[in-house]
Amino acid sequence: MKCIKYIVSFFTLLLATSCGSLLDLSPEDYYGSGNFWNTEAQVKGFMLGLHNQYRGSYSMYYVMGEARGGTSRNGTSSQNTSLDYSSPIKDNTFTKDRTGISSWNGLYSNLLQVNLFIQKVNEVNFLDAATKSYLLGQAHGLRANYYFMLYKTYGGVPIVERVKVLDGQITAESLYQARATAQETMDFIKKDLKISEESFGSNVTINGNKSQWSKYATLMLKAEVYLWTAKVSTGNLQANPSDALIAKDALNEVYGKFELMKSFTDVFSEKGNKEVIFALRFMDGEATNFASSFTYSNNVFLGQVYGRKGNLIDTDTLQLKNSGIMRNEYKWGLFASMDAKDVRRDATFLDYYDQEGEPKGLAFKKCIGIINQEGNRVYQNDVIVYRYADVLLMLAEIENMTGGDVSPYINQIRERAYAANWDANQFGYKNGSKDENELAILFERDKEFVWEGKRWFDVVRMKNGAGESLVFDARVNYDDPNPILTKDQAYMILWPIDINTLNNDPELKNNPGYDN
């Protein structure tokens, strides 16, 4: 019996000593939530993480900012493949059930991380003041950027500036949040812009070879935002033309700080070049983009289409190495609108024809990356968010609002575009009426910014001589006699909110026009 006593006391001891500590285990390969936000390296790493996530959302520029803007084909492609985002996005047939994108296109996940960063960086005390305010400048800039994307798409949206999911035990009800009005949302964006600008102060450093948000990015965003509110009425917020002057001031801070690259193609092949203000960095082995889906797959292309001179295309002209497929295609009219001497035309598209020489379709080639050392095609072009050409063309747009001469701005762009072919008399733009100028600026942007996610926002923002958005102007739609939206479809400028998002938050209401 003594034996038992010993055994029992041994186990009792074992239980008592080991229970607590033996069961406290923490991850060995990564930070748990208990050991983060302790060092400057972590904070700076998180800023890189925010950019990584931003890059992960890059397709929003095409999907939300370009696809429905009248330059993209819908239905089936010239290669008989079915095209992505055809309906309701590219053909503008939104209904409450067909929303194209859902869950705010996922942008609140990005905002959660940005909000967490702002919250934590304000709390920690190990950062020196300069580092801290620079990082906050970046973070508020990023946040304003996301909210502006949401604003342009949905109008007023729920304004979330705190990570409530980390505040103790969660219930769904405590997280329900109604949409702010357009006015409130815009006020919030402008407030963030102001904080960002002030936090950066005079620090205009751009980190990561222009792959990180900087004061110039904030200024560009500010210009975009104020130009938008100068021209576009949304919800309860009426356009205020005087905002254009604020936009102009912001642009003037950037003006002359960057310059146009000599060669149009170099803008996209050289990372962080002098024209780039801010770009999402893509790299072989790290991240590639979806430009492949604008090209061709050999089996429906080679030997089946003809070149400009009637020659059968039977070799892999773009050296895609079978990495491509056509899931998105630009309209032929966009190509046709470009002058043969404008180098942008052949830098942007590979045009092909049928046996009779009739136009057939366009493969995209502006940003199709490189052949890497293994001999594979890698779609590693940066997605350029802001570049200097945009500064010039925004300035032109502001100039047109105030009745000035837009031609110097447009012609800087054209001079670079025509390169050796440039002849100011033949190709130069001469200032015209407001209506002519606005169209000229739009068409210049069309040629310049293909795939850069601007077209839809451009046609919404820009106005014809009658002061109407170009969305309703048939002249700006390619290959289609109709405007992008008819007047009675005006509600469709704002996107519908998908049913799941509405169901998951009873306080949300859909945009007008999508009630049933």
Binding site: Y30, L48, W104, Y108, Q113, G208, M283, G303
Partner: protein, 1109 residues
């Protein structure tokens, strides 16, 4: 002096005994007075013995006053005193199996079946005897009432899913805890069924509470074979099987494909006419002239002189065979090419038929399974050693599983009070999955095999052609270029000591290591990715992972009978479990040569190599106790309790206490029942209640949250990957059950009935969060699910005569799950993922499907298919179809004839000339308009059924005639619906170039107005969605009866074997997985409700040999 005297006396006696050995005769009968042949007659305590002959007679020379032990399979062993008898008549009683059976109850506990108060089902080794099982779980289909085993993959080594009593997860999943000799295992994979002595399935919480926090989905206890005193045997088993494909898809040949595909294009391009008389559709006819699988633009010659043939592995235009027939191609007709008339343009087309299956299916595939085991034992010690080899080929190319296993279990009584139990087992498994370019099982069998049958097959040099690309093409072309090595080694090392302090009190201390390591290598040599494109990435990777599971426990046992009437059996113990996983992998690409996969050769350029390592630990600390009390052999009581502390949970949520209690009443032993003894030979009532936990869904560190790493611009970045969730607790399952075990007519009929009710509270359920929170959902303990059901097991001894015996066992289980509670979300019934349809009665919208409180999960809704419109007269003129369709449908609106006529042309035709809307025409499907508003929309779906069978079970039969035995095993699932997603994808031509089923010949055409199916069109999802929607046409009643195993065994008579000193020699032939009797014919497996194609279970024929000596 005394000692010497004693020795002398002993010598005398033994001499005397020797001298007085006598010869006795005897005969052995069964209770029907039929002689028993081959019964073993042994002088008890010696090896002196014999067997009975054809008439049941035996002769043996024995010591006087010795005892004879007479045994025969299926009968209760008899021990007979020889006494002064010279001739004996011994009657063996049939073993009333169920009643003498012992069940294992965990932690070394054993209990007579008659005394259990719980639902513990025993799966005996006979279940594994006939078929070949690369995974022992495959043998469990239908074996245990309430245990649903779904074998939805024929991949050798695939682990079937096992769900007990409906599962505790909201979606009806949840796997039992698996313990092999007390050691936790993730699955039943890589266990040799031959090493299994018994498998117990513990169902009710009164029993499983001893396993506490991990046992709410039941426990499977596996006990491996050990040696037994007095038996010494060598057993050799060999099984060789042939496995045949059972393909549900009957694809068209090249000729029919061309005819129907070209018609399909025409049907899709010419859907209606514009005002100017030109055709409008959803495509045009251009590709019919192109270099496509169905187009005539393919080329044979590379040059204008027509001397050099094009190579289809280099040029896309020479992949497919169809071409307009020209005389220069006539020579091809001698090479197997054919011609036909184009149904669209009327020209002659030359083409070649190609059968992708012939090149990509290895049927029959060969299975080999060999085992040899040695077992022996004495009073002191015993041992079992088994060596096994299984090699099973799969149906796809180079797909196989191979297992080599070795087990040795040895027990030895070192001292009177100390016994040692050692076990060692080793299993080496190697396998290769499907070809890497078509690794998805569903794709392999229903997509790749549906590739166009107009592939040229070979180029002019006789080399195999790939086809469109490596994924959808002929896998045989590249298979040799993919090096894949998967190898796991699993070791179990266990040592226990049992210390007997006194007869009633003992302590068992055990330690067990289960070490599992895996090494995986993959290397791609240069391969053809599509015609003319060779992938030269030369990706190479290697991964190693090891996991060590350590279990230590100490269990104190106490067994005592007081006053004859009070019998107590108790145990108490503690246990410590630690699992540590560590591993690393590395990969690279761009080696200068494809001859070697050596990672050292891969390119050293930036970002060309990846490496990673990982670690993960979890621990459980537990204390437990059990008491079984038996009063007067009539009243039984059992109580168990366990406390668990689990490292996955945090803070005070970590600890949980799980009690269980059960009681039984052997009512048959009561005196008032004695009158009915002839009818009711045994009766017991039992009930139990208990609490279990579950935490299996939670990752080891998940609740702590994590900051994950990523890269941007070449640097390391961080993001909050998972938010911390420290509030999560155990799920707690409360199970109540009541049951009766009753035997009739001298145990000729054994039956047991159980009703259970399991309510899982604190169920992990996702709270759907508003999207603006940045998270889509978060896990909480706010769910509640109830499983309720009835289980019945029946055993019949139908026949039992000298030559004949026939036993039938059957079980049936009914289960229904109801979701009782979900996280509050402000919606009616706190529904999640529900959708709206019209209520067929009120015509109002109602929320259905998804998860809803008070409802059964897994409801299936679909559009009710009411046949094909044969003529315009049948189509309601104003009908409008606004459904959105599936498979990437563009949801064009469809209009009935009158509505169509009213529609302005601008709304019918897009600016690009394609259809913007479509007319409903003869040949289109008729859908039920539930609310009768003349509009078919997404709300017009009706309830078709439910995804989980309500009824499951199995039937086995053993019929024996002399030396022949016929075994049959069936299992079934009833009361559910199978949704076939794959057939409509194929028949709707949704890929756009692929082959269709022969069934498509019975699609509507003007010539075949009574067809079974709607018009065959190209890309139905872009058109009228006759196939591309959830349609009742492709939802089947899933009721099935699986013909799992039929075996004929011939046992060579023992009188033949005796001289060769062979105990037993059996030859058998088995048909395994012979098919299903079911209405769900279009699917690869009716066992799977959500069915998008897959790897069908092969039909197997197995030849077996079983030899013991």
């Amino acid at each position: 002096m005394k000692k010497q005297l004693l020795i002398f006396l002993l010598m005398l006696t033994s001499l005397a005994m020797y001298a007085q050995n006598k010869q006795i005769k005897g005969v052995v009968y069964d209770t029907q007075n039929e002689p028993i042949i081959g019964a073993s007659v042994v002088e008890d305590g010696t090896t002196n013995g014999t067997v009975t002959d054809l008439d049941g007679n035996f002769q043996l020379s024995v010591k006087p006053n010795s005892k004879l032990k007479v045994t025969y399979v299926g009968y209760v062993p008899a021990i007979v005193n020889v006494g002064n008898n010279m001739s004996l008549t011994i009657v063996l009683k049939e073993d009333s199996e169920q009643l003498e059976e012992v069940v294992v109850t965990g932690y070394g506990g054993k209990q007579l079946r008659t005394k259990t108060t719980n639902s513990i089902a025993k799966v005996k080794e006979e279940v594994f005897a006939n078929g070949v099982f690369s995974n022992p779980a495959q043998a469990l289909s239908g074996a245990v009432a309430g245990l649903r085993v779904v074998q939805s993959s024929g991949n050798p080594g695939a682990a079937p899913s096992i769900v007990l009593r409906g599962g505790t997860n909201l979606n009806g999943t949840g796997s039992p805890l698996i313990l092999v000799d007390g050691q936790f295992r993730e699955s039943l994979s890589d266990i040799n069924p031959e090493d299994i002595e018994s498998m117990e399935v513990m169902k009710d919480a009164g029993a499983t509470a001893i396993y506490g926090a991990r046992a709410n989905n039941g426990v499977i206890l596996i006990t491996t074979k050990r040696g037994k005193a007095g038996i010494s045997e060598i057993n050799v088993k060999a099984k060789v099987g042939l496995n045949y494909l059972t393909n549900p898809y009957d694809f068209m040949d090249g000729r029919d494909y061309l005819y129907w595909m070209r018609k399909a294009y025409q049907n899709s391009a010419q859907m209606f006419k514009k005002g100017d008389g030109s055709w409008v559709g959803i495509t045009n006819l251009n590709s019919l002239d192109g270099a496509t699988p169905y187009g005539t633009g393919n080329l044979y010659w590379a040059d204008a002189n027509k001397t050099i043939p094009l190579d289809g592995n280099k040029d896309n235009r020479a992949v497919w065979s169809p071409m307009n027939y020209t005389p220069d191609l006539a020579f091809l007709l001698n090479q197997g090419w054919e011609t036909m008339i184009d149904p669209v343009y009327g020209k002659e087309i030359i083409f070649r038929n190609w059968d992708m299956g012939k090149n990509n299916i290895n049927s029959p595939a060969l299975t080999q399974d060999y085992n040899i085991s040695f077992t022996g034992g004495s009073e002191k010690g015993s041992y079992y050693a088994g060596l096994g080899y299984n090699h099973t080929e799969g149906l796809p190319l180079d797909n196989y599983y191979q297992r080599i296993s070795f087990t040795i279990n040895a027990d030895y009584k070192i001292r009177e009070w100390l016994t040692s139990y050692s076990n060692f087992s080793f299993a080496d498994a190697k396998w290769r999955g499907l070809p890497p370019t078509s690794a998805d099982e569903a794709n392999y069998f229903s997509r790749m095999l549906s590739a166009p049958p107009t592939l040229r097959g070979h180029n002019a040099n006789g080399e195999l052609l790939l086809g469109v690309n490596s994924g959808d093409g002929n896998q045989a072309v590249n298979i040799k270029n993919f090096i894949r090595k998967n190898n796991t080694d699993k070791f179990t090392l266990g040592q226990s000591f049992r210390i007997e302090f006194m007869k009633s009190l003992s302590l068992k201390v055990s330690g067990s290591w289960y070490y599992d390591e895996g090494y995986y290598e993959s290397f791609n040599k240069d391969y053809l990715s599509s015609p003319g494109n060779v992938n030269v990435s030369r990706n190479s990777s290697a991964e190693f992972q090891r996991s060590l599971n350590q279990t230590y426990n100490a269990v104190l046992n106490y067994d005592q009978t007081f006053n004859k009437n009070h019998q107590i059996s108790a145990l108490a113990g503690i246990e410590y479990y630690d699992k540590y996983i560590s591993g690393f992998n590395a990969s690279g690409s761009g080696a200068p040569t494809d001859d070697f996969g050596d990672l050292g050769l891969t390119s050293k350029d930036k970002d060309k190599r990846n490496i990673d390592s990982w670690h993960q630990r979890e621990r459980i600390f537990s204390g437990f106790a059990r008491v079984n009390y038996d009063f007067m052999n009539k009243y039984l009581l059992s109580a168990v309790v366990r406390e668990d502390g689990y490292s996955r949970l945090l803070g005070s949520n970590r600890w949980g206490v799980f009690p269980g209690i059960s009681a039984g009443w052997l009512i048959g032993n009561e005196s008032f029942m004695s009158g009915t003894k002839d009818i009711i030979s045994f009766a017991k009532l039992r009930t139990s209640f208990g609490l279990n936990g579950n935490v299996s869904d939670i990752g080891p560190y998940e609740l702590q949250g994590s900051y994950g790493t990523n890269r941007y611009n070449g640097d390391i970045g961080y993001l909050l990957n998972n938010i911390p969730n420290p509030f999560l607790r155990w799920e707690k399952s409360h199970t109540f059950e009541v049951g009766a075990d009753i035997s009739f007519l001298e145990n000729k009929i054994n039956a047991n009935f159980t009703y259970y009710d399991r309510l899982t509270k604190g169920k992990y359920a996702n709270i759907q969060l508003p999207a603006s929170s940045g998270l889509s959902s978060i896990r909480s303990n706010n769910g509640e699910i109830q499983n309720r059901g009835i289980e019945v097991e029946l055993g019949f001894k139908v026949l039992s005569t000298k030559d004949w015996s026939w036993n039938i066992n059957a079980n049936v289980a009914y289960n229904k799950n109801i979701i009782k509670k979900l996280p509050k979300n402000g919606l009616e019934r706190n529904r999640q993922n529900a959708f709206q349809v019209y209520n067929p009665k009120t015509k109002e919208l109602m929320w259905v499907g998804g998860y809803q409180e008070g409802q059964e999960p897994g409801q299936i809704y679909g559009f009710k298919y009411e046949g094909v419109y044969k003529s315009y007269d049948e189509i309601p003129g104003g009908l409008v179809d606004k459904t959105s369709g599936n498979n990437g449908s563009n949801g064009l609106v469809l209009y009935g004839p009158d509505a169509w006529a009213k529609l302005p042309e601008g709304q019918k035709v897009k600016s690009n000339g394609m259809a913007a809307a479509l007319p409903i025409q003869p040949g289109d499907a008729k859908w039920k308009d539930v609310n009768g508003d003349g509009v078919i929309d997404n709300y017009d779906m009706v309830k078709i059924g439910n995804s989980t069978p309500r009824w499951t079970g199995g039937i086995t039969s053993m019929l024996k005639w002399k030396d022949l035995t016929f075994n049959a095993r069936f299992d079934y699932g009833l009361g559910f619906t199978v949704v076939d997603w794959r057939t409509p994808w194929i028949m709707g031509n949704m890929q756009g170039t692929f082959n269709s089923l022969v069934d498509s010949k019975d699609t509507w055409t003007p010539e075949n107005p009574n067809a079974k199916y709607p018009t065959y069109v190209w890309a139905d999802q872009l058109g009228k969605r006759n196939y591309a929607r959830q349609s009742s046409k492709f939802m089947y009643n899933g009721n099935y009866l699986a013909i799992r195993e039929l075996t004929l065994t011939y046992s060579l008579p023992s009188f033949l074997l005796r001289h060769a000193k062979i105990n037993r020699l059996e030859l058998s032939v088995t048909g395994q997985n012979l098919g299903y009797i079911t209405a769900a014919k279009g699917v690869f497996s009716p066992e799977k409700s959500d069915n998008n194609g897959g790897y069908p279970l092969p039909k197997s024929v197995i030849f077996g040999l079983n030899l013991s000596f």
